[in-house]
Subunit: 345 residues, 4 copies
C-alpha cells in the first residue's frame, strides 16, 4: 500500500483525489491547500483523508510515500524539491517546472535518491494518443510533419503565456509520439492586451530528418479547435480531440514516386509524383480516463522501480523547448538550438 | 467595344474565354496557344474568334486593345511586356511575375504608357472577401490577427513551391483586406520529395501594429481545409471557403478590459480581462462569379481610365512578399524585411 | 420558505437535490429512496437533509410543502396522488403518468385541492427552446412544419418504448412552442429485439392548419443526432442540441409567391413560386441550467399561486399523444384522433 | 456499333449526349428536341450528329438501334412506346412512366419484342451505392432499417409532388440494395403553397421481415441533407452524399443479446441487450461517373442480350410504390398494400 499526499486543491487537485481514492494499492492520506475553504467539501466526502494547510506536516508523515503536486507552476520546483528531499516520490503537474534549470535540478535530485519523478503529461495516456503511438513508426511510414491547432476563446493566464499554457500539451504529445527529438525551435507570438503575456503564438520545431512540426496556440479564437495532422509517407492521421468518438482518423493516402526518368524526357518530374488514396479508418479507442491510467502507473512504478512513461526527463525536455520558444518569441522568431538531452552534473 | 486577345488556353484560359464572350462591351478577337490541339474545341464553339499559335500575330491586330495572359508563371513577364510595348492593356494571371524585379518593370512600363495593368487576384472579387472588406476597418474593431490554413492533397507543382502556388491567394486577400502593409516576413518550409520544391510551408507576416498574420499551405494533407480566422477587438470572423453557403461567419465575441486596478489589489490583472460573447451571423453573400466581376472591371477600367482593384502595384506587392518568403525559407526562417512600396525609377 | 421532499434518488434525483439545495426560498428536508445504499453519499454531503426509505414518513412531515418525484414512470401516479392527498404540491418527472387516465386523475386532484402540479419537461426551460418560443408566432411567419430527429445508439429501455423514452421530449417542446394543438397522430415503430418494446419509431402529428409535425426516434443508430427543423413562411430554424454553442440557427429563407397569374399564361404556377434567401443568425442563448430555472419556477408558483409553464395539463396533453401513438403503432400506423383537451369530471 | 438517338435536350439530355459521344461501341446519330434554340449549341459542338424537331424522323432511321428519352415524365410512356413499336431499344429517365399501368405496358411491349428497356436509376451506378450493395446481405447482418433524409430548399415542381421528384431516388436505391421487396407503403405529405403538389412528405415502407424503411423528402428545408442510415444486426452504414470523399461510413456497432435468462431472474431482459462498438471505416469508392457506367451497360446489354441492372421491371416496381404512396397521402397516411410483382398479361 502506497501512502500518498496531494498538495493543491484548486482546478486539478480534485481530479487527482477522485482517482487516487479508487486505486486499491494506494492510500490517500493527506490533502493540503492554503485556502482551507476549498477543503471543506473534502472533509465530508472523504472523512478518512487528513487535511492541512501545512505542507511540512504532510511531508513529516512517514506513511506518505509519494506526493502529487497540483499547485501553480511557479511553485512546482519548491514543492517537488521539498518532497524529494523528504524522500518522497513525486508526481507533478505539467509543466514540471517554470524553467529548465529547475527541472534539471529536480531530475538530478530524484535520480540521485532513486525516487520516482513523474510529470502529468495527461494527453499521452489517452486512448487516442496511445493509438497514434502504435501507428507512428509503423504503418505511417517515414514521418513528414506534425501540425497542431489548439485554439479557443480561453481564459487568459496572467503568469504564463499561451505557449506555456497550451503548447505544452503538443510538446508532451510529440515527446511521446515521435521517434526523433527536435534540434531547434522558432516561435512568434503576440500579446493583444497590454502588459499581458502572449495570447497567440506559432511554434516551429526542427528535427534531424525532414520531419517538421508546427503548433498554433491561441486564447483569442472565435471557435474551439483541437486538431492535429500527422503525415507519413504511407498514411496520414487527423486527430480531432473534439470529436465525441472518432477522434483518430487514419487515411490511407500519400504520394508515390513512380516512373522511369529516362523514359519520360522533359516530363520526368511530373511523372514521378503520383497520388495514392485508399480507405479511411477511425479505430475504436480505449476510453479509460487518462488520469486514472497515469496515476495507476505512478503507483506501480513506485512498487516496481520501473520508470514512468512521462518521467522527469520527459518533463525537462518539454520545459527546455518551452523556454527556447519563449526566447525565440523575444527575438522575433529567431531559431534557437536546443541543448542535447544530458542533464548537467 | 474593347477588342481582346487571350493567350494561354490551358487550365484557366477557357474560363477567361467563357466570361469574355458574355461581356457586351468587349469583343474577344483572338485566342493564342502553342498547343493547337487545345484550340480545336474553341473553333467550333466560338467560330467568330480567331485562333493562332503566333502571339505576334495577335499583337499586330490594331483592333486588339487588351491582352489577357494565362500562360505559365515563368512567361508572364515576357508576354505582358510584349503586350504593353505593343500598346495593349494587360490582365495577367497571378502571380503577376516570377520575381519582384520583373513585376516592377511591368508596373513601370504600364504607368509610363498609361495602360491598364491588372492582375488576376480572383479571390478578392468573391462575395465572401468583399463582405469581409466591409467588416474590416469597421465593426471588427482593431485588428489582432489573420490566420489562414489552405491545405489538401494537391497536385505537386514542379516549377514553383507551395508558397507561390497557394499562399499567393492569402497574400492577395490580405493586400485587399488589411488596412496595413506588412513590414517583414518569416517562412519555413520543407520538401518531402527529393529535388522538388517545398510542399509544406508556414508564413508569418509582421505589421507596424500588433496585427500578426500567419498562413499554413500544404500539398500533402489528408483533408482539404480552406479556413481563415480574422480577429479584431470587437468581432471575429471565420471564413471557410468550403462551406456551400455560410462561408463567412461573424462572431460578436471578444475580450473586455474592465475593472479599476486600484480596487482589486493583487488580482488587478485577473479582473481586467473579461469575455464578451453575442450572436453569430452568416451574412448572405453575392454569388456572382468572381472572374465575371473581375473581367468586367478590367474592361470598364480601359474605358474609363480608372485603376482596377488589383492593379500592377498590388501584383508587385504580393510578389515581393513571395520572394521574401522564399528567401526566408532558404535561411531557415530568418525574418526578411520588406521593401517600402515605391517602384524604382 | 418552502419545505421540500425528494423521492427517488437514482439517475435524476441527485440533480434535483443539487439544484434544490441552492434555492434560497426552499428548504430541502427529505430524500427518500428504497435503495438505502444510494443515500449513503447524500448523508455526508448534505447532513441537514433527512433520509428515509419510508415515503409516508416524508409525507407526514407538516413542514414539507412540496414533493419532487423522480421514481420510475410506472410509480408516478401512485407517488403523486399520495402527495396530493397529503396536501403537498407536486413536481413529477416526465412523463407525468404511465397513461392518460392516471394523468387526468392527477390533474383533477391537484385542481380540486388548489395545489401546484408541475411536470418536468426539462427542455422547455433551456435557453435554446425559450429563444425559439420568441421566434415562433413572431418572425417565423405562418408555421409549415416541425421535424425532429432524436437518435443514437442508446440504452434500451425494457418497460417503455423509444416513443415514451425519447419522443416525449419533442412532444413537450411542441406543446410549449406551437400555437396549435395536434388533432391526430399516426405512428409506426419496430422492435428488432424479440420481446422488447419498439426501438425505432416515426410519429406524425396533424394540426388544424397546414402545419405538420414529424419525429424520428431511434435507440439503434450509429450516430447521435438531436436535430429539429422548424419552418415558417418567413424564416426557418435549425435547432441542433449537440452543437456546443450555436444550437439555434435562424435562416432568413423561404419561398415567395409572386407574379400575376393573368400575365403568365401557361407558366402561371412556375412564375408564382420564387425563393428568398438572406442572412443566417445564431443568437446567443441563455445558458442557465434548465432544471435550475424549472425548480425555481415551481417554488415560486407555490408562493404566488401562479401556474407553472409545464403544469399537469401540459403533462396530460403529452401523455395523451404518447398513448395515441402507441395505439397507432399497434394498428400499423392508423391515424388516431386526439381527444379534445378537457379533463373528464 | 450501336446507333443511338437522344430525345429531349433540356436539363439531362446534354449529359446523355456528352457520355454517349465517348462510348466507342456507340454512335450517336440524332438529337431531337422541340425547342430548336436548345439544339444550336449541339450543332457546332457535335457536327456529326443530326438534329431534328421530328421524333418520327429519328425513329425512321434504320441505323438507330436505341433511343434515350429525357423528356418530361408525362411524355415518357408515349415516347418509349413509339420507340419500342419501331423496334428500338429504350433507355428512359426516371420515373419510367407517370403511372404503373403505363409502366406495365412498356415492360410488356419490350419483353414481347425482345428489346432492352432500361430506366435511368442513376444513383445505383454510383460508387457509393455499389459499395453498399456489397455490404448489404454480407457483413451488415440481418437488416433492421433504411432511413433516408433528402431535403433542401429546392425547386418546386408543378407537375409532380416531392415524392415523385425526390423519393424516387430512394426507392430506386432500395430496389437495388435490399434483399426484400416492400409489401406495403404509407405516406403523409403536405402542400404549403395552395394549388401546388406536396412539398414535404414522409414515406414508410413495410417488408415481410422486421425491416422497416422510411424516407423524408422536402423542398422547403433551410439546409441541404442527403443522408441515409442503413442498420443491420452486425454493422451500420451512414451514407452522406454531400461528403466530398467519405460518402459511406461503416460502423462496426450493434447490440448483442447475451446472458442466460434462467440465471438472471427478474432482470432477464435487462441482461440480454448489450452494446458492441468497434472501428469505423470509410472505404475508398469508385469515382466513375454513374451515367457513364450506366450508358455503357445499356449499350452492352443491346449487344449481348443481357438484362440491365435497372430494367423496365425495376422501373415498374418503383412507379408502383410512387403511385401507392400518392394514394396513401390522399387517404391521410392509410397503409396501401403493394401488388405482387407480376406484370399483367
Amino acid at each position: 500500500m502506497i501512502g500518498i499526499g496531494v498538495v493543491g486543491y484548486g482546478y486539478w487537485g480534485p481530479n487527482l483525489v477522485r482517482n487516487l481514492i479508487e486505486i486499491p494499492t494506494a492510500q490517500l492520506r493527506w490533502v493540503c491547500d492554503l485556502r482551507t475553504e476549498r477543503l471543506a467539501g473534502m472533509r465530508s466526502r472523504y472523512p478518512a483523508v487528513q487535511i492541512t494547510e501545512d505542507y511540512e506536516e504532510l511531508l513529516r508523515d512517514p506513511k506518505v510515500d509519494a506526493v502529487c503536486i497540483a499547485t501553480p507552476v511557479a511553485t512546482h520546483f519548491t514543492m517537488a524539491m521539498k518532497a524529494l528531499r523528504a524522500g518522497k516520490h513525486v508526481f507533478v503537474e505539467k509543466p514540471i517546472a517554470a524553467n529548465a534549470r529547475d527541472a534539471e535540478r529536480l531530475v538530478e535530485e530524484a535520480e540521485r535518491r532513486g525516487l520516482v519523478l513523474a510529470v502529468d503529461h495527461t494527453f499521452i495516456h489517452t486512448g487516442a494518443v496511445r493509438k497514434m503511438r502504435e501507428l507512428v513508426g509503423n504503418s505511417l511510414g517515414q514521418l513528414y510533419y506534425y501540425d497542431s491547432v489548439r485554439i479557443n476563446l480561453g481564459l487568459f493566464q496572467h503568469d504564463v503565456s499561451v505557449i506555456w499554457d497550451l503548447a505544452v500539451h503538443d510538446l508532451a504529445i510529440m515527446d511521446y509520439l515521435l521517434p526523433e527529438r527536435p534540434v531547434a525551435v522558432a516561435a512568434t507570438g503576440m500579446s493583444h492586451v497590454p502588459g499581458e503575456p502572449e495570447n497567440i503564438a506559432y511554434l516551429t520545431l526542427y528535427f534531424p530528418s525532414r520531419l517538421i512540426a508546427h503548433v498554433h496556440v491561441n486564447w483569442l479564437a472565435p471557435v474551439k479547435v483541437r486538431r492535429t495532422l500527422i503525415s507519413g509517407s504511407e498514411r496520414m492521421i487527423v486527430y480531432d480531440d473534439l470529436e465525441p468518438s472518432e477522434k483518430v482518423k487514419i487515411y490511407d493516402k500519400g504520394i508515390t514516386l513512380t516512373g522511369s526518368p529516362a523514359r519520360h524526357g522533359e516530363n520526368i518530374r511530373q511523372m514521378l509524383v503520383g497520388y495514392r488514396t485508399g480507405d479511411m479508418t477511425a479505430p475504436q479507442l480505449d476510453t479509460t480516463e487518462a488520469l486514472t491510467r497515469e496515476l495507476k502507473e505512478f503507483v506501480s512504478c513506485i512498487e516496481t522501480g520501473l520508470v514512468p512513461t512521462a518521467d522527469g526527463r520527459a518533463g525537462l525536455r518539454v520545459v527546455r523547448i518551452l523556454e527556447a520558444a519563449t526566447q525565440s518569441v523575444n527575438q522575433r522568431g529567431a531559431v534557437i538550438e536546443l541543448q542535447s538531452e544530458k542533464v548537467m552534473a
